[in-house]
């Protein structure tokens, strides 16, 4: 049976596939943004900005299989821009503090140390750690998102792990 469409079918299909992409990824976008800025309001602002930027350039995506990668790249760039603009001002949600308080004591200290170590990394290193360990992405995927060769991502990752080690030993 035919389905009624009131607008240009191609445009509508593109809009539909964009909205599906956003709907499927919005929670992931929020989590990544939150791990950068650590508070709800800023994370929501970043997600909104990302959706906006993605909407107005979605027609440029040629290969639909890379649209997830493309969207994540926009988000990460938006996060980094945001952090650069708001440097030295870190608004931490009460929730973020509460989130950390339900761990038992042995674990708690260690977790705080790892978190601090992640915070001390530069933006690129932080991105690789979040995508690799929290989002479970493969190095190849991360390489596509950051538009760098896999070997570069590997060295960023090892350097980051190394630096975290040093930070923790101090």
């Amino acid at each position: 049976m035919a389905i009624g469409f009131s607008k240009n079918k191609l445009l509508r299909e593109r809009e539909d596939s964009f909205l599906s992409l956003i709907n499927e990824n919005q929670e992931k976008l929020y989590r990544i943004a939150y791990s950068y800025v650590k508070n709800k309001d800023d994370a929501l602002d970043i997600v909104q900005e990302t959706v906006y930027k993605a909407y107005i350039s979605y027609h440029k995506v040629k290969n639909i299989q890379y649209e997830n990668t493309w969207l994540t790249r926009i988000l990460i760039n938006t996060c980094i821009d945001f952090i650069k603009k708001n440097q030295k001002v870190v608004a931490i949600d009460m929730k973020f503090i509460e989130n950390t308080s339900h761990f038992n004591n042995d674990n708690f200290q260690q977790k705080v140390e790892v978190k601090e170590a992640i915070d001390k990394l530069n933006e690129k290193q932080k991105t690789v750690i979040i995508l690799r360990f929290f989002e479970d992405m493969k190095l190849e995927e991360i390489a596509k998102i950051l538009e760098s060769p896999v070997s570069t991502i590997k060295s960023i990752l090892y350097r980051a792990l190394n630096e975290m080690n040093i930070t923790l030993k101090e």
Binding site: M1, A2, I3, G4, F5, S6, R12, E15, D16, L19, S20, I22, N23, E24, Q26, E27, Y30, R31, Y34, S35, K40, L44, D45, V47, Q48, E49, T50, V51, Y52, A54, Y55, I56, K95, N99, T100, N107, Q110, K111, E113, V114, K115, A117, I118, I129, I130, F133, F134, D136, L161, M164, N165, L168
Partner: protein, 306 residues
């Protein structure tokens, strides 16, 4: 430090709470994008305006000239712009905009891309409505069924289409439920096997589109339902439902093998858990409840009330 510490932090990452405003924020982002794109294309639009008017004239002419073309338009289920794909949390989801005086005007089904789709349209004064009215939907198993609650709905013309929907591949039954809220309409779609489902909310015109596919990976499991006896009159089941709601229990109303209505609360995996809850409920209400073992699409048994 070793990598395990990072994996431990991942649990915390997965637990980051998703704020309820997220959907709204995403929507605003999309609207900003639409406005921007509209401005960009406005000049282009003016240029093609003349040809558009010409096209419209031709279309109007063809509709007027050919009565069959005019008719075929009427029978098409309308799907508007995608608002969102519903995210289900514990089998439930919700959406829509607060409206009143809605008629759930048409339900139709069609097949597309390997999915069996059911479209629900909403109208006001015989005109298709722009926004889907506020709604809630839940999917339950044993038997596999989806319950819809549409708020601000006063009429259910689509009931005439129920027969047509029964021919749809996965639908075993579709029926309306009684509710004591006169601004709400509820209905149940039962499936004849476990299904993978996706629901889209669309606007301009308003529609809910349910896409279904057989869930081949699903493993059937036995559950124990805590339910009432069966009532010939649906409002008795709805009354028990309301009583349980006031003491904080979610429930659903279903038809049994003889087409009588009963109310049940969430299924339990073990008989012991069900018995424990039955005892607890016995102290809180005087509704007569029983435990029924059930699996898959097996029809709930009939225990007619005396």
């Amino acid at each position: 430090m070793d990598k395990n510490n990072l994996y431990e932090l991942k649990e915390e990452y997965k637990e980051i709470q998703i704020p309820s405003e997220l959907n709204q924020v995403v929507q605003t982002g999309i609207e900003r994008g639409r406005t921007k794109m509209y401005k960009r294309s406005r000049n282009k639009f003016l240029n093609i305006c003349a040809s558009f008017i010409l096209g419209l004239t031709l279309l109007t002419a063809s509709v007027n000239i050919s009565p069959t073309f005019g008719q075929s338009l009427e029978k098409i289920p309308y799907m508007g712009k995608l608002v969102k794909v519903l995210q289900f949390n514990n089998g439930t989801s919700e959406g829509g905009t607060i409206t009143d005086g809605t008629d759930i005007s048409e339900i139709d089904s069609f097949e597309k891309d390997g999915y069996e789709n059911i479209v629900i349209n909403f109208s006001q004064d015989d005109m298709l409505q722009n926004d889907v009215p506020a709604y809630e939907v839940r999917y339950d198993e044993n038997p596999y069924a989806m319950t819809f609650e549409i708020c601000g709905a006063r009429n259910f013309s689509a009931e005439e289409d129920f027969k047509k929907i029964l021919e749809s591949e996965y639908v075993k039954d579709i029926y309306q439920l009684i509710t004591f809220d006169d601004s709400c309409m509820r209905f149940v779609i039962e499936f004849d096997r476990p299904v993978e489902y996706k629901i889209e909310e669309r606007k301009d015109p308003a529609s809910l589109v349910i896409s279904l596919k057989e869930d081949e990976k699903y493993e059937e499991k036995k559950t124990y339902s805590l339910r009432t006896v069966s009532f010939v009159e649906g409002h008795l089941a709805a009354r028990s439902e309301e009583t349980l709601h006031t003491i904080g229990y979610e429930s659903r109303v279903l038809k049994d093998e003889d087409g009588l209505f009963f109310m049940e609360i969430q299924p339990f995996e073990t008989k012991k858990e069900a018995e424990k809850k039955l005892e607890e409920l016995g102290k809180l209400t005087d509704i007569e409840m029983l435990i029924e073992e059930r699996m898959g699409i097996q029809d709930p048994q009939s225990y007619p009330s005396e």
